[in-house]
Symmetry: C2
Subunit: 353 residues, 2 copies
Amino acid sequence: MKDPIEKVVKQGVSWLADSGPEDDIAISSRIRLARNISAIPFPVNANRDQMKSVLKAVELATERTSCIANPIELKIGEMSMLDRHILLERRLISREMIGGEKNFSAVIFSEGESHGIMVNEEDHIRMQVMKPGLQLGEVWKEIDIMDSLLGQELSFAFSDEIGYLTSCPTNVGTGIRASVMLHLPSLALAEQINGVIQAINKLGLAARGIFGEGTENLGSLYQISNQSTLGETEDQIIEKLESVIKQIISHEKNSRKILLENKREFLLNFVGRAYGILRHSYMISSQEALNSLSALRLGVDMGMFTSVDIHKVNELFLLVQPAHLQKFAAKELEPEERDILRAKIIREKLHQK
Amino acid sequence: MKDPIEKVVKQGVSWLADSGPEDDIAISSRIRLARNISAIPFPVNANRDQMKSVLKAVELATERTSCIANPIELKIGEMSMLDRHILLERRLISREMIGGEKNFSAVIFSEGESHGIMVNEEDHIRMQVMKPGLQLGEVWKEIDIMDSLLGQELSFAFSDEIGYLTSCPTNVGTGIRASVMLHLPSLALAEQINGVIQAINKLGLAARGIFGEGTENLGSLYQISNQSTLGETEDQIIEKLESVIKQIISHEKNSRKILLENKREFLLNFVGRAYGILRHSYMISSQEALNSLSALRLGVDMGMFTSVDIHKVNELFLLVQPAHLQKFAAKELEPEERDILRAKIIREKLHQK
């Protein structure tokens, strides 16, 4: 195929398009595991032959274990910068994987993009599973199977004393990074979001804006994840994260209730105008689009727009990003051209029944 | 009837609701004639008995000549301030008639409000005819008949040397004030409107914003009228005004064409966003409403919104004004309540097919 990314862009992203528990507020759950192959240096110290052999080994293991169904493999070094950014926006690769020209770094992932393996990133292997809504337990079950299957074929670097060995000490031990993407527009409107983030940090978890940080965050999307990978079991880590997530969700729900009771007209106006702009503008900046989509999503969640499907709004958060826009246009775009195309995609998507 | 204004508010305004020549840009044409009854002092110098006799005489003349079909008569002194403002917003009375408690000042008008007579305003009689679009000739024909009919019953103060005598010297002679209301959004967008207004003034005509003045004007609605009433015949005055109006209309049309050719996306965005806001907001200020209605009207004129009737937009310009809003609510409203009700009326009106 001349342009394998073409097919990727056209396929639906299961963790955005499907339903999941609590998915009015919890958009998706993800777990990543960092693993390295023993007897081969970490990628930062490995030579080309060693990286090549890592990729070979992972390809073979993936094929033999079928741990990813109908796998698609893309080699980063063979891709244009735009295409790499497409993968980044779809959360299939990390920002670290974008730059550099490591010929043997690659990503292998399933149709629907729920399962993936980054090869020769910071570690030899970063496998991940993503699902819609809050379902860390289910995600853990699936990635645990994937880990076991790959572990049958590959000898992972492991110390009985501290656990899995990783390139960066912050991942040593379980090598687990579990995260949930939350939509918290009401806490943001009530200006309580910074307090919530501080509380999350005090609990030893990390909270960051998906599009920007703190009050500058666009779209009110936040990712909450564990910080520590050592000294606790995976189950403990996931349980603690999930319990905090549930509290945040309950805070957001409560805040929405108060908003609806005390500032009903403000809320209707906030949501209605966002919909009006998204549905009828012919030029829209990334910032306005993300914030308007966030307001619309709030309205859909609260039952104000029964005609709009929430998964459509989720998908738009992805489609309005720069790389996806430019892939859609099949060329590089000036900022004004991006604003025009962004508005067009949103209009048409919201117009579809 | 307990509240005659109630009925008035519910009835359609023919000069806004009907079609007329060039009514994409020329909303309406109006001619007013100032007349006084000889042998009775001008209202400013008249006593109560004299004003009473003026009203009696006009009522009788109107009835005998049937110069107004199915006339409705409202006495200003018997009305609430809110109701007087309703009449002002509907252009049935002048701002001068609002204040004061002259018991014998009144307005007599037709269903549909195309024909009206103000009694005991600055002059004893100010009769007016309004029609949709640019049709000063037709308006003149009708008001000329009305004037002749009333003149058969009433002895108008007239000097062979200078013509009709009026309270204010600026009206002496013909007593005619002809005006056309124009919608000039494209000239406003192109920042050419002030130049156009200056040119109009140099030609001896008056131009003023309907909602504010100059660049501060809201809704891009302008009234162009004759200044001079002396030394020319009515036909000459009307002909000159109409010829200037036609030039302004052609400027506006040209400006729209350029806008569509050179700044298509800007125009679509400008119009689309205005529609989106009007259709979906739950709170809207008077300023934003007037400017958005103006943008929407431009879009409708240019064929971008075939589903929206231009007369509906015309009517909204009237309905969103403070007195109409409060009459609709049947109580005085705080500014925020006005913004909420204004948005509701606009939403519902635009939602109607």
